[in-house]
């Protein structure tokens, strides 16, 4: 126990200041009223859906929950069910084998809801494109509010994407 406490004290607090929202990531006009956004901004529940990624984007989502980025301190946390979620954070090109699951997850998420598409594949279909097995970009399957490019996008860009979605446009 002594060693454990010593390690905690030695490591200290490494969390870095959170990034700002980036309006350039917004792809459609914000659908939500400002009041709701203010509410979301204080406690946002995210359901992550991997709709067919190479798993690179997942590595960076994990990193967001690590001590340097410490997403949870902003009141933003990942939840286990879409029914508890305000936002879907979706990666991949959408594989056709995941198309139904993604739609159902979106339908199970209560309104009002936000969708952030992650990664080059989520934004455009990426290197996998559209094919017999891939529907391509996320917005080909469900409506997307904010799209964050990158292969994979860095944790800072992912956080910016999430913050952009919960910031009213023009603010």
């Amino acid at each position: 126990m002594y060693q454990l406490l010593k390690q905690i004290a030695k490591a200290g607090i490494v969390s870095e200041p959170a990034p700002q929202a980036d309006p350039a990531l917004r792809i459609i006009e914000q659908q939500l009223g400002e009041l709701i956004l203010e509410h979301f901004g204080r406690a946002l529940a995210i359901r992550h859906v991997d709709a067919g990624s190479c798993n690179g984007c997942e590595l960076e989502i994990h990193a967001c929950n690590g001590p340097y980025y410490n997403l949870e301190r902003l009141g933003i946390k990942f939840v286990a069910s879409p029914r508890h979620a305000d936002m879907l954070l979706v990666t991949g090109p959408v594989s056709r084998n995941m198309e139904t699951a993604l739609r159902r997850t979106w339908e199970a998420t209560p309104d009002p809801k936000l969708v952030v598409a992650l990664g080059d594949c989520g934004c455009t279909g990426g290197i996998f494109g559209e094919s017999y097995a891939s529907c391509g970009r996320i917005s080909n399957v469900i409506p997307v509010d904010v799209a964050v490019p990158g292969c994979p996008p860095t944790p800072v860009r992912i956080m910016q994407g999430i913050l952009t979605a919960i910031t009213a446009s023009g603010r």
Binding site: D50, S95, N97
Partner: protein, 515 residues
């Protein structure tokens, strides 16, 4: 035991890895496999191809790891009713691969115990086969129903828990069907294939050079291993000799990938036994490493650095010392964390005896990679076939015999420390010179093999070119194919709440498997 002489002609496949190819008749397949199994061969991969454009029917391909190297068996099959005798009773890991080969190419394994579809869900109808050459990659089919008969477990008090494809955490999609009584798992059945996004078909529209980027995205967490395997296959097929400096840097990159993944998983293994301390500590160390990767090589996960011909980016001058210095610091902290894990009664209580795969079952079923080594299967390509740059530095294999979560934790720790040593050794004798050679060309159709010990296990790229810089067929094979069935086995008799822990101790790839 007297070794039986092979009843077929073997041809060396050019490239650094000892690999040879042979064409055999379907009726000889089983005896060749039985003979190989008796001589301790392991199944690496099984896949199919359409040979119509080459004047043939179809072909089944089986890659075996023999003590002397990779043996790539090709079995030509008829155009009408292509079929072959199944080999899943000889190599159990072949079962799902045979099902996938049917779904994608339409070649049928006779006398197989399981003919259910595997990678095909509702995206394309039965009777159409995406990897046939006359199949249009851009084809769209109306989503059809996706009935899949799971095994039913009966008896009083038995019930099912269906999980996925969308999981509760940040995990890739797949379906797990638990049959349980009380808290105890009686049976787990996996259903995978949700991430199938047509990678193999995609390769066939690309040039050899373009394919490198796609290979690096078969499974993002193993991007270095795949990119290296792909580059190795292309270099073998084209007769390209990558510079020595590039080979040494590839070794550095592969070990950095291994360290990063092990650090992350060790953190999650702490998290899954309610030791959140472990998660935060290890993910701090992992982030330090990722930032170092970005600073030195321009990408946190080292994507697109290994390309056919060498590496796309050299290590900046004098940065080797910085890399060694940072790795030593990470290593020192990881040693402290190891002793904290080992002395933490709560963590050890959850790790020890949980999710066990005994060595005899691991051997029979073909468990591979780090999970295999934790169950007494002492195979590591860096040790078995030390090609440059590993021949200069020598790799100490990490292994364990208990086969439980604790053993997999132990192997991961040992591999972190060994990989730090390897990076130091490789940098200490980093050859000078160029890092990229132009791609050579060989006329006509060629074969290439890329075979690399990634952090999870052995990654195979089997390449056949179509002449020039075109691709006839690429089969990328992830070690997860072998290990997924053993995850089902390892949870038997465990309690449901230990499943996430057991799952994380393997940390298998869905994307690399689903293709």
């Amino acid at each position: 035991m007297q070794l039986k002489k092979p009843a077929f002609e073997v041809q060396r496949i050019p490239g650094p890895m000892p690999a040879s190819g042979a064409t055999i008749k379907p009726e000889d397949l089983r005896s060749v496999c039985e003979n190989a199994r008796a001589q301790n061969a392991r199944l690496v991969a099984l896949w199919g191809s359409d040979e119509a454009e080459r004047g043939g029917g179809y072909a089944l391909h089986v890659a075996l790891a023999t003590p002397s190297g990779l043996l790539w068996l090709s079995v030509p099959l008829a155009r009408e009713h292509p079929r072959y005798p199944g080999i899943a009773d000889i190599f159990p890991a072949a079962l799902r691969m045979q099902r996938a080969a049917y779904d994608l190419v339409g070649i049928h394994a006779q006398d197989s115990a399981d003919h259910r579809k595997w990678l095909r869900h509702g995206a394309w109808p039965g009777g159409t086969f995406p990897l046939r050459k006359d199949f249009d990659a851009a084809a769209r089919f109306a989503p059809s129903g996706d009935d899949y008969p799971f095994m039913k477990v009966g008896g009083e008090g038995v019930h099912e828990i269906p999980v996925g494809p969308v999981h509760a955490g940040t995990i890739e999609p797949g379906h797990f069907r638990f049959s349980i009584v009380g808290e105890k798992v009686l049976r787990l059945e996996e259903r995978l294939g949700y991430k199938h996004k047509g990678i193999e078909k995609r390769f066939e529209t690309m040039t050899l050079a373009e394919g490198a980027k796609l290979a690096g995205r078969v499974s993002g967490d193993s991007t270095v291993a795949y990119a290296w395997a792909y580059a190795m296959a292309v270099e073998g097929a084209t007769g390209t000799e990558p510079p020595r400096r590039a080979l040494a840097l590839r070794g550095v990159l592969l070990e950095l990938e291994r360290i990063g993944n092990h650090l992350g998983d060790l953190g999650y293994l702490g998290n899954d036994v309610a030791l959140a301390f472990g998660f935060y500590q290890f993910w701090r160390l992992k982030e330090d490493l990722l930032r170092l990767n970005a600073a030195l090589f321009g990408h946190r996960y080292l994507m697109d650095l290994i390309v056919p011909g060498g590496v796309a980016r050299d290590l900046p001058r004098n940065e080797g010392d910085r890399l060694v210095d940072r790795l030593e610091r990470i290593q020192a902290e990881a040693r402290t964390l190891k002793s904290i894990y080992e002395e933490h009664a709560g963590a050890q209580d959850r790790f020890i005896t949980t999710g066990k795969v005994p060595p005899e079952i691991a051997e029979r079923m073909g468990l591979t990679g780090l999970a295999g080594r934790a169950s007494g299967q002492r195979h590591d390509l860096r040790v078995n076939h030390p090609i440059p740059p590993y021949e200069q530095v020598g790799v100490n294999i990490a292994s364990h015999t208990r086969g439980d979560v604790a053993a997999r934790v132990s192997v991961r720790f040992d591999e972190v420390f060994e990989s730090v040593r390897l990076v130091q050794a490789l940098l200490a004798q980093l050859p000078p010179g160029e890092t990229l050679a132009p791609l050579a060309a060989r006329p006509g159709a060629q074969r290439g093999v890329g075979w690399v010990e990634g952090w999870r296990g052995e990654v195979l790229i089997a390449l056949e070119t179509a002449g020039g810089d075109r691709i006839h067929r690429v089969h990328p094979h992830d070690p997860s194919w072998q290990n997924w069935p053993l995850l089902e086995r390892s949870v038997l008799g465990n309690i449901v709440p230990d499943f996430p822990l057991i799952n994380k101790s393997f940390n298998l790839s869905y994307s690399g498997h689903d293709l």
